[in-house]
Amino acid sequence: MRSNRLLFLLPLLTLLVMAGFFGWSLLSGRDPASIGSVMVGRPAPALAAPALRAGDPALTDSLIRSGKPVLLNFFASWCAPCLSEHPLLTRLAERDGVTVIGIAWKDKPDAARAWLKKLGDPFKYAGFDLEGKIALDWGLSGVPETYLIDAQGVVRLHFRGPLTERDVSDRILPLLKAGS
């Protein structure tokens, strides 16, 4: 009988545990939307993708292990946030001379080409990943996502979501400057 009564406390205890967790979540400044990245600090996965632009050679692994840091950006023409980071990629490519590789993710090559024609094409190399198979190796959760791969072919930064001015000026550019 005694043990049965104690059972009634179980919902209350559950509630307390949950309230404690929520309170901690709120106060500790944890970002529940952030899922982190296992890629950072590790050698980049192998890259192989068909070329997006007609006449270009296919993307190979040597592009990200060329001894120069590169920015790898997954995008899609159907992706609205990709629009907002597009000028930043363009600026990185044009003004800062960064090698930007673009991969159209789960996007029809025709649509991706039209999108780049409309917005301007910041990509030195562009490939596509219609089935999303390449993205699996890279731990992609969606588009846009951007990886900074250093001269040694190690992933140094991984941005989930659109790049912002602060990402570029506070994280990407300092790293590139330190690296080169």
Partner: protein, 410 residues
């Protein structure tokens, strides 16, 4: 129509619910009667078979005892059931009462907050007018602009419009083709406000907020105070520059404030702007728009001397246009007593205004007064007669003006 159907459905549902609920109390004990009838049948069957000799006596009596045991159990159950049956009136009538009251409450609520007379609004009907009302679509604008450029490739207006249309097409992202168009437009027509604005937006989007703000502030300083895009430009400057927008609380407090409090708050803001502008090093061209803003605010507040001073500061940075000159002159002449000749500063502004707009009523009248006071009667009469000709036949100041012309000997 739909309301009636729903009401009908509800009524039917309530009816279906009510019937068993009202009858349940009468029928709850029926089961025992059924059971007893079956057992009675079984007993008579046993008796029948025993009499016919198909069932031995021993088995017949065993079967009877079994059936009698079941009868006892059934009676027991029935008794218990009757004891536990809801007996009080509340328990008995609550379910039917609830099933009636809830739909009635819903009906009352609907009559209270609902609008039975409102016409139906199908989705198709709702989207159709919106499409018709809309301005030409982006695709149409783009086609029109491209057609214009095909005829005249160096039309800066068309290039600027092309850039804008391309930007709208890309949901507000200034694309590279758009940037090209704006750069071309700007080269052909330096100072093109639209191209400057969008190039600034491009800089902001491509991570160079500083350059964007510089470009925009310059544009703001160079723009006439009544430029239609100024509001948007300032909003963008505030957004990119991170200047704190007034908080929701502040706006609510402002809405609740009494007129005196509001006046005091506005005065506070004006004084703040004044102090800030005076702190800035003198002669900054980007401060011109702010000086004009201050001058207008002062004028609205009735502080004409301070308004005139602010106009003068803006004018020193870059000469004012006709409309602003008129505002400046008005701030000056409002300080003079009725009938008195305008001050020297006022005359200077009025003369500039008259030069820019020879038929300006304000300039004609007050410069006439000034000439009259200086003893130059002929000049005064000439100005006033010009003004008289401009005035509508029923203007209230006609009489006063005619009197003045007569006094001056005209």
């Amino acid at each position: 129509m739909l309301e009636f159907l729903l009401a009908l459905l509800t009524t039917a549902t309530v009816g279906v619910l009510l019937i068993p609920l009202l009858r349940s109390s009468a029928h709850s004990t029926e089961r025992i009667d059924h059971d007893l009838a079956i057992y009675r049948d079984q007993l008579s069957e046993i008796e029948h078979e025993r009499a016919a000799g198909t069932l031995p006596d021993a088995e017949a009596s065993a079967a009877r005892i079994e059936i009698e045991r079941r009868i006892l159990v059934a009676a027991d159950h029935a008794e218990k059931k009757i004891a536990s049956e809801p007996s009080s009136a509340v328990q008995r009538f609550l379910p039917p009462a609830l099933s009636l009251l809830i739909p009635l409450f819903a009906l009352g609520l609907y009559l209270q907050v609902g609008r039975p007379g409102l016409p139906a609004s199908p989705f198709q009907a709702r989207i159709a007018p919106v499409e018709q009302d809309q301005q030409p679509t982006v695709a149409q604008v783009l086609a029109a602009v491209r057609a214009r450029l095909a005829e005249k490739p160096d039309d800066p207006e068309a290039l600027s419009a092309l850039g804008e249309a391309l930007t709208v097409e890309a949901d507000g992202t200034v694309t590279l083709p758009a940037v090209d168009a704006f750069r071309k437009a700007l080269a052909l027509q330096p100072g093109d406000a639209r191209a400057l604005y969008y190039l600034g937006l491009h800089e902001a989007q491509s991570g160079d907020s500083k350059a964007a703000l510089e470009r925009w502030r310059e544009l703001e300083a160079r723009s006439p105070p009544n430029a239609p895009y100024l509001g948007m430009l300032r909003a963008e400057i505030a957004r990119v520059g991170g200047a704190p927008a007034p908080s929701k609380e502040a706006i609510e407090a402002m809405a609740k404030a009494t007129p005196e409090q509001r006046q005091a708050a506005i005065r506070g803001m004006v004084e703040g702007l004044d102090a800030k502008l005076r702190e800035n090093p003198a002669g900054r061209p980007e401060d011109r728009a702010a000086w004009l803003r201050l001058a207008n605010a002062r004028k609205v507040l009735g502080e004409n001397d301070k308004a005139a001073e602010a106009f003068a500061k803006a004018d020193a940075l870059s000469p004012l246009d006709t409309k602003t000159l008129a505002d400046w002159a008005e701030a000056h002449v409002r300080q003079t007593a009725p009938g008195a000749a305008p001050s020297l500063e006022a005359v200077a502004v009025l003369e500039r205004l008259e030069k820019a707009e020879p038929r300006n009523a304000l300039a004609l009248f007050y410069l006439g007064l000034a000439a009259d006071a200086a003893g130059n009667k002929g000049e005064a009469v000439r100005r006033w007669k010009t003004l008289l000709a401009l005035l509508p036949a029923d203007a209230p100041i006609r009489g006063m003006l005619e009197q003045k012309i007569k006094d001056a000997g005209g």
